[in-house]
Symmetry: C2
Subunit: 426 residues, 2 copies
């Protein structure tokens, strides 16, 4: 893991939009699903997953069987995590409000849940039950009444789906699950087929084809953010525990060769100790190959003159995950402008947030913490403004409204006011 | 204006993504601005606006002069409107929160304003001071410290900008204004030039090139929704005032030939009266040509059997603006699932909300009220999760976290917990 001065480090923020060919493939799949509906879903599932699908919908019996099949201890941990995630997101709920004006008018904002939401869950080795929780629970807390899950069948030629995914769905009470993945499943959620009714919003991570399909259908339905590779930044001084710092860097590095793990520190002693410790922990890590590629190609230990400079570097990096392991971490919290999730102190390892504590693990990647937020309950609400104008209000303010409308050349707007003033002002 | 049964009406929701050529033009402009910065801005301003720009930045003096130049009554109305808009949006503000857990952990959500926001304001005849208020005030209320406005110079060969736009900026205290428009201004806001520093988010409506450029830079910066043509739906029974209904339909129809104005009613008497009244009001409307094209091509009076069915039709239409002119409008509010802004009763003409009452006039168009919201203060906030885990918490819950991580194959995640349990558990 290279050590360099923070000033010498260049942030790389390539956004992945896919090749022209990949975009073309995705557009063709979407058009085929619009045209041929279920038939297209079955065709592409045969083509891409090698499975001849008899039933797109996963039956209640399959959900029950999966639930019985998975490890009891896993289920118990999953339930504990669900409770924490639900508690945390419950605190994000909001109420509609009304403001009574002196002239008798009412102004307000109605806040309602989306009605129907689709969640994409990847299959194969990237099938993560924790992501089912993180996507579905905020929607449930918001009050979304219909949550639909799509996930590709296993590629062993059979219709089966990873039982841990189905168990997580069952645990949350999700009953509508379809065995279909890829761009075709996104098209089905956006436009609907004979079997799958269209949704209002699509969430969840997927491969490049899923991501491009989500971009493509955005506007027809809403989508969550398109996730890039994961990253962590640790801001630490000489008080930090070397083995914790190294382990936490590696816990991000093992995700993906494209993951980024960065240590920012004012202690060159810590820097070289962490450098050694990462090497030694790497040697015994099962996902060593992935993690070492991530560490060597994207990882860095950045030396700053003082923690003040470190804070500035952190704000420029706008990390997805930020761990602060300095003497008094709370004193720094107020200075952090850009970060998806902030982990404070020696016990707040990043996996605590990935799986268990309650906050969402779907976070802004690729520096987008400058303007985006963790997935949260607001993402499943929509708002409507409400205006109930009184007779007094229109009589008192009508002239102003006409003035502003006429300046912009909208005489028709002005007349809709004038006609009322003439009739009601009598 | 055609009258038909609601069941016979097909909703048209074509989304405008521009032609391949338009997209190519926009991509080239963006690349040129990334490469040549200010030089490209000056080149395109010459090419598209016919203006040789000496100073991209609008001077303080120009802002002051514009302010002195506009009508005093207009300024007074503008100020009144600003106050109302500010009051309404102040009620949307939110606080960061912290939740103290029994085991000594702290979980929370930090809510912060975006730092720097760019607002696009169209030039020429589509230059609307009201849009300056509606875009900038929510950002100011959120606490955005740097608000930048870009707007093209008048096309009379001089550098001047519509004084009403500049006066609105001055009124709000916006000091950073640049005379540049089109896709090139969006590229400048996203990537920065020598003169214009990059922003975190770009808001505001524009022509097709501006819309495509916003789509293109999304991810590098945040953008607001891409607005389609405006629409209104009026739900009315026989108690509604015919002349008000007609005037309000026309106030949307005059915006644009692509605007949609729809009346949904259970009274065939009202239907035919409104049909006649629209004709007669149309005849004396200055923007008659635009409005009649909108009314004839997109407008419709939809007959329903009863108001219940009308509510259902409204929810399917998911209108941008919804007026409810029935006997007891409040009784219907709770049944409306999808609408950008809801205007209740006979005095709540849609222009009341366009200009003055306080709620935002930037609303979800094209049926997107199913999943999007009026522009609001949340659009200028970003959130970070905060996790401060206690020693007790990690000791009590570490096993669950490892269980979940290992099920997903992330041994490195599990070890970052295990190393702490081993060290702290002693």
């Amino acid at each position: 893991m290279r050590i360099l001065r923070a000033k010498e480090f260049a942030i790389n923020r390539e956004v992945e939009y896919g090749s022209v060919e990949q975009n073309k493939v995705v557009q063709n799949i979407i058009q085929a699903v619009i045209r041929e509906k279920d038939k297209a879903l079955i065709k592409y599932t045969k083509q891409f997953d090698g499975v001849q699908c008899a039933n797109l919908r996963v039956s209640e019996q399959e959900l029950d069987e999966a639930y019985g099949q998975v490890d009891y201890q896993f289920l118990f941990a999953l339930r504990k995590a669900s409770e924490n995630i639900r508690d945390f997101h419950e605190r994000q709920k909001r109420n509609s409000w009304m403001d009574l004006q002196e002239d008798g008018s009412l102004l307000g904002q109605v806040i309602r849940p989306l009605k129907r939401v689709g969640i994409y869950v990847p299959g194969g080795t990237a099938a993560y039950p924790s992501s089912v929780l993180m996507n579905a629970i905020p929607a449930q807390v918001a009050g979304v009444s219909e949550i639909v899950m799509v996930t590709p069948p296993s590629t062993n030629g059979e219709e089966g789906i990873n039982p841990y995914i189905l168990a997580a769905a069952k645990e949350l009470g999700i009953q509508e699950v379809y065995r279909v993945g890829g761009a075709q499943s996104i098209a089905a959620l956006a436009y609907g087929t004979e079997t799958i009714r269209p949704v209002d919003k699509i969430c969840g991570p997927g491969n490049i084809y899923v991501a491009l399909a989500k971009r493509e259908v955005y506007g027809v339905v809403d989508i969550d953010n398109i996730a890039g590779p994961t990253d962590i930044t640790i801001l630490a001084d000489q008080s930090a525990d070397v083995s914790y710092v190294a382990a936490d860097l590696l816990s991000q590095a093992e995700h993906d060769e494209l993951s980024t793990a960065i240590l920012v520190t004012n202690s060159s002693e810590l820097a070289s100790q962490v450098q050694q410790e990462v090497e030694s922990q790497l040697n015994v890590l099962p996902r060593k190959e992935i993690a070492s590629k991530s560490i060597n190609e994207n990882g860095a230990i950045l030396i700053v003159d003082h923690i003040e400079e470190g804070i500035q570097v952190v704000n420029e990096l706008a990390p997805e995950h930020l761990e602060i392991m300095v003497d008094d971490p709370m004193s720094i919290l107020g200075r952090i402008e850009n970060a998806g999730a902030i982990f404070l102190g020696r016990y707040s390892a990043e996996p605590v947030g990935d799986y268990f504590a309650g906050p969402n693990h779907i976070l802004p990647t690729n520096g987008t913490a400058r303007f985006s937020s963790p997935l949260n309950v607001d993402d499943f609400f929509k708002k409507s403004s409400v205006i109930y104008y009184s007779k007094d209000a229109i009589l008192q303010n009508g002239e102003y409204i006409m003035q502003l409308a006429r300046q912009e050349g909208f005489e028709g707007h002005a007349r809709s006011i004038q006609i009322r003033l003439e009739k009601e002002g009598e």
